[in-house]
């Protein structure tokens, strides 16, 4: 596709459930990023994948959060035992190495 795509676009879940968010980067982009945006705030870095290097997980807020990437394609962000404070928009971005990041439309997660 032409841009970064994410699914689902919206997710409502109950506290304590696990959720999986998916990101399809722009074809050929070696770098993939996950960010979180709470209502009315800027973006917080979560995790970064670059090629076959070990991911930079330094932004993950707790061990309930994890992410995987298959080669240089799809990534999934998993949140286990969701809490209400996890409610946010989760944005994925991709880029060529050290170049401008292009963002997907985001997944709006609401934990009840």
């Amino acid at each position: 596709g032409a841009g970064v795509s994410q699914s689902p676009s919206n997710k409502v879940t109950e506290k304590g459930k696990d959720v999986e968010l998916r990101c399809d980067p722009i074809s050929g982009h070696t770098a993939l990023y996950w960010y979180r945006q709470r209502l009315g705030q800027g973006l917080e870095f979560l995790i970064y994948f670059q090629g076959n290097s070990a991911p930079d997980k330094s932004g993950l807020p707790s061990d309930r959060f994890s992410a995987e990437r298959t080669g240089e394609s799809v990534s999934t962000l998993t949140i286990q035992r969701t809490q209400q404070e996890d409610s946010a928009v989760y944005l994925c971005a991709s880029s060529l190495m050290f170049r401008t990041q292009y963002f997907g439309p985001g997944t709006r997660l609401l934990v009840l």
Binding site: A31, Y33, G42, L43, F45, D56, G59, F98, Q101, F103
Partner: protein, 111 residues
Amino acid sequence: ELKVEQNPLFLSMQEGKNYTIYCNYSTTSDRLYWYRQDPGKSLESLFVLLSNGAVKQEGRLMASLDTKARLSTLHITAAVHDLSATYFCAFTETSGSRLTFGEGTQLTVNP
């Protein structure tokens, strides 16, 4: 601690007026970005500034970078309603890749 401070956070202006948004960042950076976000939408890349003194212009928006002062500005000339959005600056550390974002400036241009 990596930090980006934008001001103002909220800006209401009339069409036709000029204004500047300021972005201060806390550490050495080799890239400074400006993004636009419309309500309920994702981020759109506006500018990337790579070196001290860099200036880029697109339509009514002009961005500049002073790496010595660790300051970037986004200047709006003769504002129009279509520019209403939230504008974020973000930077990457030297040789780094992750973006550190400011809180955003919510701009409203009134007719």
